[in-house]
C-alpha cells in the first residue's frame, strides 16, 4: 500500500509539473497542450470507439506476428544449438540480423508487400524472430551437462530429453529472449504503422501519424500514453508473473 501511494504521488507530481509548465505559457499551447486537453481527447476517443478499434487492430497485428516469431524462432534456436551446421548458417544469420534495428525492415517490407497487412506482419515477425532464436540457442548451450547426464541415467532420451530437461533448463534464457522479442516487435510495429498507411485498419501508430499531420498535439501525446500503458501492462500481466515464478523456483531473486 505504501509503495502504491508513493508511486501514485510521483505521477501526481509529474502531472502537476506538466500543468504548471502549460500555465506558465513558456511554449505555445499548440506544442504543449494541458493534461486536461489530453484527457479530453482520450475521453472523446474512448467514447466514439476510435481508441478501442485502433488498439485492437494494433494488438492483433502484434500478437499474430509475435506468435509466428515464437513458433518459428524456438525450433530454429533448438536446431542451431544442436547442430553445428545450423549454428554456422542460421545462427550466424540470426546474430547478424538481430543487430539490425527492426525499423530497417520497413522499407523492404513496403517494397515487397506494398501497403498491406502482410508488410506489417513481416516487420513484426522479423522484430521477434532473431532475438528468440539467439536466446533459445544461448539457453540450450548453457544447460549444465550434469543435468543431461543425470537424465540419461534415468532413461531420458531424444524428445523426452528435449522437452523435459533441456527446454525447462533453458527456460530463464528463453523467457528473457521472449521479452526482448516482444519489445522489438512492439517498436517495429509502431514504426511500420507510422510509415505505412494502409486501408485495412488504422492502428495506434496511424493515429499518432495523423495527430502530427493535423498538428493535434493532444492526440499525439494521448496516443503515446496509450502505447506506454500497453507496454507496461504487457510486462505486468504477462512477463512479470513468469519471471517471478522462475526467480522463485531457481532461487535467483534478490527481493
Amino acid at each position: 500500500m505504501k509503495r502504491f501511494l508513493l508511486a501514485a504521488g510521483f505521477f501526481a507530481v509529474l502531472l502537476l509539473l506538466w500543468d504548471a509548465a502549460f500555465r506558465a505559457k513558456i511554449w505555445s499551447p499548440v506544442l504543449l497542450p494541458s493534461p486536461w486537453q489530453v484527457a479530453e481527447y482520450l475521453k472523446h476517443a474512448a467514447t466514439d470507439g476510435t481508441l478501442a478499434e485502433a488498439t485492437l487492430i494494433t494488438m492483433r497485428r502484434l500478437l499474430i506476428g509475435y506468435f509466428i516469431g515464437l513458433i518459428v524462432g524456438l525450433p530454429l534456436g533448438l536446431l542451431t544449438a544442436r547442430w553445428k551446421l545450423f549454428r554456422d548458417t542460421i545462427g550466424t544469420m540470426a546474430l547478424g540480423l538481430q543487430t539490425l534495428p527492426s525499423v530497417c525492415w520497413v522499407p523492404l517490407a513496403l517494397l515487397w508487400f506494398g501497403q498491406t497487412e502482410a508488410a506489417m506482419l513481416f516487420v513484426v515477425v522479423m522484430g521477434t524472430l532473431w532475438s528468440v532464436v539467439i536466446a533459445t540457442e544461448t539457453g540450450v548451450r548453457n544447460v549444465p551437462p550434469i543435468y543431461r547426464r543425470a537424465a540419461l541415467t534415468m532413461g531420458s532420451k531424444r524428445l523426452h530429453m528435449w522437452f523435459k530437461v533441456i527446454l525447462p533448463a533453458a527456460l530463464p534464457f528463453i523467457v528473457s529472449g521472449m521479452k526482448q522479442g516482444w519489445a522489438f516487435a512492439w517498436r517495429s510495429l509502431m514504426a511500420a504503422e507510422i510509415f505505412v498507411t494502409i486501408l485495412t485498419g488504422f492502428g495506434l501508430g496511424q493515429l499518432l501519424h495523423y495527430g502530427r499531420e493535423l498538428s493535434a498535439m493532444d492526440q499525439v501525446i494521448a496516443i503515446m500514453l496509450v502505447i506506454v500503458v500497453i507496454g507496461l501492462l504487457a510486462d505486468k500481466i504477462f512477463f512479470s508473473p513468469i519471471e517471478k515464478f522462475l526467480h522463485h523456483r531457481w532461487g535467483t531473486s534478490q527481493a
Binding site: 549444465p144 543435468y147 547426464r149 540419461l152 541415467t153 534415468m154 532413461g155 523426452h160 523456483r249 532461487g251
Partner: protein
C-alpha cells in the same frame, strides 16, 4: 470407490522388488587426449562385484576411479574390455544403474517431489498414483517428507544430497553408483549420511559402487575397498573390511583398517613418484 486395493498393491509390489545386480568388469582400458599427450586413465582393470555388495573405489584424484564409474553407468565407452551387468554387456546408460553425482544434479525447474518423480515417470507399467506413492516412500526413507514441495535452492547441501539419493533410489535400480556424493558436505552432515546410507543399503539391498578419496569413508561403508593407483589407473590392492554394521566412522577398529589402507595409498604415491623420475 473402486480405486484402492489394486493400485495400492502395485505400488507395494514395486517396492517389494529387491534385486541387486552383479557386475563383471573385464580388462577395461580407457585413455584420454590431453595437452601433454595421451593419458591412460584405466589400464586393463578387472573386477567383480557380487550381488548386494558394497564396494568402495579409493585413490588420489586423477586415478581413473570416476572414469570407471562413468563406464559402468554407460555414460562413457571403454576403449577396450567389457562391462557385464547381470551377464549383459553395458552399451549405454539405463535405469538399472543409477548414478548419484558429487554435485547434486537436481533439476531446479522441479520441486523436491518432482525431482524424485522424474525417473519414476520414465518407468513403464506403473500408474501415476503408484509413482507418487513410491516417490513418497523414498522421500520418507531419506527423512525429507516435510520438504516435498520445497524448491531445490531452499535446501541445504546435505538435504540436496538426500534428495539426490531418493531420486536415484526411486526407480529401484539394481546398481547404485555413487561418485564422491558426500565430498562437498560438512563433517557432521556427512556422519549422519554414513548412518543413513548403511541403513538404506540394508533395507533396499542394492549393489553399490562408491567412489571416494576419503579412506575412512571407504572403510566405514565398503565390504571391500579397492585401492586405485594413478598413471596408469589400475587396481593396486584390495582390502576386505569385516566389521559389524552399522559402522561408526569414529570407531577404533575402523581407524585400524583406515590406517592400513592409507599406508598402501602412500606407497602407491611413492611408486608413482619413482616411476616419474
Amino acid at each position: 470407490m473402486h480405486r484402492g486395493s489394486r493400485d495400492r498393491s502395485s505400488a507395494a509390489e514395486e517396492l517389494k522388488v529387491i534385486a541387486p545386480s552383479k557386475l563383471a568388469i573385464e580388462d577395461v582400458s580407457k585413455s584420454f587426449q590431453s595437452a601433454s599427450g595421451t593419458v591412460l586413465a584405466l589400464d586393463r582393470v578387472s573386477l567383480n562385484v557380487a550381488e548386494g555388495e558394497f564396494i568402495c573405489l579409493v585413490g588420489a584424484s586423477g586415478c581413473g576411479k570416476t572414469t570407471l564409474l562413468n563406464i559402468i553407468a554407460g555414460l562413457e565407452k571403454p576403449d577396450s574390455g567389457t562391462v557385464l551387468a547381470d551377464g549383459k554387456p553395458v552399451t549405454g546408460p539405463g535405469r538399472e544403474r543409477l548414478v548419484m553425482f558429487q554435485e547434486p544434479a537436481l533439476f531446479p525447474w522441479l520441486n523436491v517431489f518432482g525431482n524424485v518423480l522424474f525417473g519414476l515417470k520414465l518407468k513403464p507399467n506403473l500408474t501415476n498414483k503408484d509413482r507418487r506413492d513410491v516417490a513418497k516412500y523414498y522421500l520418507e526413507l531419506v527423512g525429507l517428507s516435510r520438504f516435498e514441495r520445497a524448491n531445490i535452492h531452499e535446501l541445504s547441501g546435505g538435504m540436496k544430497q538426500r534428495v539426490s539419493l531418493a531420486r536415484a533410489l526411486a526407480p529401484n535400480p539394481r546398481l547404485l553408483l555413487m561418485d564422491e556424493p558426500f565430498a562437498a558436505l560438512d563433517a557432521l552432515t556427512r556422519e549422519q549420511l554414513y548412518g543413513d546410507i548403511q541403513e538404506i543399503w540394508k533395507a533396499r539391498r542394492k549393489t553399490i559402487v562408491f567412489v571416494t578419496h576419503n579412506v575412512r569413508e571407504a572403510a566405514c561403508l565398503g565390504d571391500r575397498v579397492l585401492l586405485f593407483s594413478p598413471h596408469p589407473g589400475r587396481v593396486q590392492e584390495e582390502f576386505t573390511v569385516e566389521l559389524p554394521r552399522p559402522r561408526d566412522i569414529n570407531s577404533v577398529d575402523l581407524a585400524a583398517h583406515a590406517t592400513r589402507i592409507t599406508k598402501a595409498l602412500k606407497r602407491a604415491g611413492q611408486t608413482e613418484a619413482v616411476a616419474r623420475k
